[in-house]
């Protein structure tokens, strides 16, 4: 048994917290979609991967830095997912939850195999000027990119939170999640809210993919891991709770890095999955209770 090295442990915990906050960006939209559409979006992970590929090729062909590419990735993610909801998911909604779920599963299969076909199965990663830099705080060394990603994720999550709590679209979104029939009778165009939410999620998840790809390499098949990580984060943070998702991301990051520290790096995802199953079983509504009016 090695004795525990306090500096190494602190490094791990802090790094994990930053990484978790960064990854939270890929999860924040999933929870909105679950609330508004009552849909577990199984193609979520593939949208995250798609964002990473878009940034990869923007950098490869036009030399656009991944961080500068974020707005472009958002727009493309939004534009790609809006018609998917409108023309593929909305029509099957009448067949029940199961049909929507299995349709996203089928879409995930399609996307993943198109990635393999067109982008090859090779493992890719994104590089920036900061990729190899670290920032020293006393004895603790943290990768600069974690800090930047964390800050970006926090900013975007705050913006989403403002959108949901302060705007007309946000009010419609909350009313539609709570009771779509009543929302429609009150005068809300619920189907428009649905595709708006799905497309917003598409943009957010794609940006999340860029941040993740700045820290880890990815392949066409990374989608299911990203989906489950995002799902663990939103369950941890409380469904429908935006800032809860961000905190949930930090918590998951810490738990995963502790798991990796004590059990070996391969167990990083495993720890998250086991926690997800336990959490789902004991508290389907999340650990951080959802506040009544966000």
């Amino acid at each position: 048994m090695n004795s525990i090295d306090p500096v190494g442990l602190a490094n791990t915990v802090l790094g994990g917290a930053l990484l978790g906050g960064l990854i939270a960006l890929s999860a924040v939209g999933l929870s909105l979609v679950l609330g508004v559409m009552k849909l577990v979006n199984l193609m979520h992970g593939q949208i995250v991967v798609l964002g990473a590929y878009v940034a990869f090729y923007l950098a490869a062909f036009w030399g656009i830095s991944p961080l500068l590419a974020l707005p472009i990735v958002f727009v493309l993610g939004f534009a790609f997912t809006a018609p998917v909801q409108r023309f593929i998911l909305a029509p099957v909604a009448k067949h029940g939850e199961e049909a929507g779920l299995l349709t996203t599963f089928a879409l995930a299969i399609i996307l993943e195999n198109l990635f393999i076909r067109f982008f090859s199965g090779d493992s890719r990663s994104l590089d920036t000027a900061f990729s190899r830099e670290t920032l020293a705080i006393g004895p603790i060394n943290l990768p600069t990119i974690y800090l930047i990603g964390f800050a970006i994720s926090l900013t975007v999550c705050l913006a989403v939170w403002m959108l949901v709590t302060r705007t007309s679209f946000g009010r419609s979104l909350r009313a539609s999640s709570e009771d779509p029939i009543s929302a429609a009778i009150v005068g809300i165009h619920v189907s428009r809210v649905r595709w708006g939410t799905f497309a917003l999620n598409g943009g957010l998840a794609s940006m999340g993919g860029v941040l993740i790809a700045l820290c880890f390499s990815f392949t066409p098949s990374s989608g299911s891991e990203y989906l489950l990580t995002a799902f663990a984060i939103i369950v941890l943070g409380g469904l429908g709770n935006i800032m809860g998702t961000f905190v949930g991301g930090i918590a998951l990051g810490v738990i995963q890095s502790l798991g990796a520290y004590f059990m070996g790096d391969g167990y990083r995802t495993f720890v998250g999955l086991v926690m997800l199953i336990i959490l789902l079983a004991i508290a389907p509504n999340g650990i951080l209770k959802r506040r009544r009016s966000l």
Binding site: K38, L39, V40, L42, I88, P91, V92, K94, H95, G96, E97, E98, A99, L101, L102, T103, F105, A106, L107, A108, I109, I110, E112, N113, L114, I116, R117, I181, S221, S224, E225, L227, L228, F231, A232, M263, G264, G266, Y267, T269, F270, L273, V274, L276, I277, I278, L280, A281, I282, P284
Partner: protein, 322 residues
């Protein structure tokens, strides 16, 4: 759920009836299938193996998903358990038949262990829980020191010939079919379907829902593990990404849905469709899967009862009019 009724109405398949005729049909088809290696080449036997394998997997999945409403995306976990049990047990020198039995027992135990957590989840959350479970199993097997890591385990047993494999697969397929038919003849059939249609009402009518779900989920998993154990023999080597890979779940789900969930014949129709499509696109495996995805999207939207369910409904309507 307010519009539950309309949703269910759109998914009414033919009622489940099992009579002696079904067993005769199975016997005749099995006899015909048994003769295939005598006049077909190795390639045809391999295709036949694949159809029997996928059909048996989908029929087993259908017990939980189609009849009991437990739509699982965790089939790879059960399949992987079958694959690894065969590898470890046969390398330890146990006879093959015993290894197959052991695979089923291990899968049943696994279902028993995870059921307290999984059965608290309903609907979509159950599905996500099973998906997480299968991924967790894969990662665990990759990382733990006992299963040979990414490299996997070689089987010391001699690899069976193509026709042997085909016959074993046929035997198992017949076993799965007979299991399904017997189950559908038994009182469990009503219980499972009642739990699927309305769990609360089932309980109000005396059905012990937890037990019913556990039987269905466990039996479904055990049968999947049996098929998995044969796959280990077929490959000669077992690896986490092969045994516990998502691709098995994808195959099973697409075969069952395209053929028709909750129908006796659907899984076999689906298996023939998917395997023949795969042979047609053999040069482009990823295109094959993408096409399967597209077909899946179309079937869910336009034929929610799958190929077989839609066919039988159409036949019924014809009969009513004439």
């Amino acid at each position: 759920m307010k519009n539950g009724i309309s949703i269910l109405l759109s998914r009414i398949a033919t009622p489940t009836r099992v009579g002696p005729r079904d067993f005769i049909v199975v016997a005749v088809l099995a006899a015909v299938a048994f003769a295939v290696p005598y006049f077909a080449g190795t390639y045809q036997q391999e295709v036949g193996f694949r159809i029997l394998q996928l059909g048996a997997l989908a029929a087993a999945w259908n017990i939980a998903a189609g009849y009991t409403g437990l739509v699982s995306l965790g089939s790879a976990a059960f399949f992987g358990i079958g694959v690894y049990t065969m590898a470890i047990a046969s390398n330890a020198g146990l006879p093959i038949a015993l290894c197959v039995l052991l695979a089923a027992v291990m899968a049943g135990l696994f279902a028993l262990i995870v059921s307290p957590a999984l059965f608290r989840l309903r609907g979509l959350y159950f599905t996500v829980g099973t998906l997480a479970l299968a991924e967790a199993m894969r990662i665990f097997v990759v990382n733990s020191p006992w299963f040979g890591g990414q490299a996997g385990i070689f089987l010391t047993a001699r690899a069976p010939k193509a026709y042997d494999l085909y016959w074993i697969a046929l035997l198992i397929a017949v076993f799965v079919v007979v299991c399904v038919l017997l189950l559908l003849r038994s009182r469990w059939s009503y219980r499972m379907q009642a739990v699927r249609d309305d769990e609360d009402v089932a309980s109000q009518l005396g059905v012990r829902t937890y037990r019913t779900k556990l039987w269905a989920f466990g039996l479904s998993g055990a049968l999947i593990a049996i098929v998995g154990s044969i796959q280990a023999l077929n490959q000669g080597i077992v690896q986490p990404n092969g045994g516990f890979g998502m691709s098995w779940t994808i195959d099973i789900v697409s075969v069952a849905i395209i053929g028709g969930m909750g129908t006796k014949v659907g899984p076999w129709v689906g298996a023939v469709f998917i395997v023949l499509l795969g042979e047609f696109l053999i040069q482009f495996p990823e295109i094959h899967l993408a096409v399967v995805g597209v077909v899946l999207v179309l079937v869910i939207r336009f034929m929610p009862n799958g190929i077989w369910g839609t066919l039988t409904l159409a036949l019924q309507k014809n009969r009513n009019f004439s």
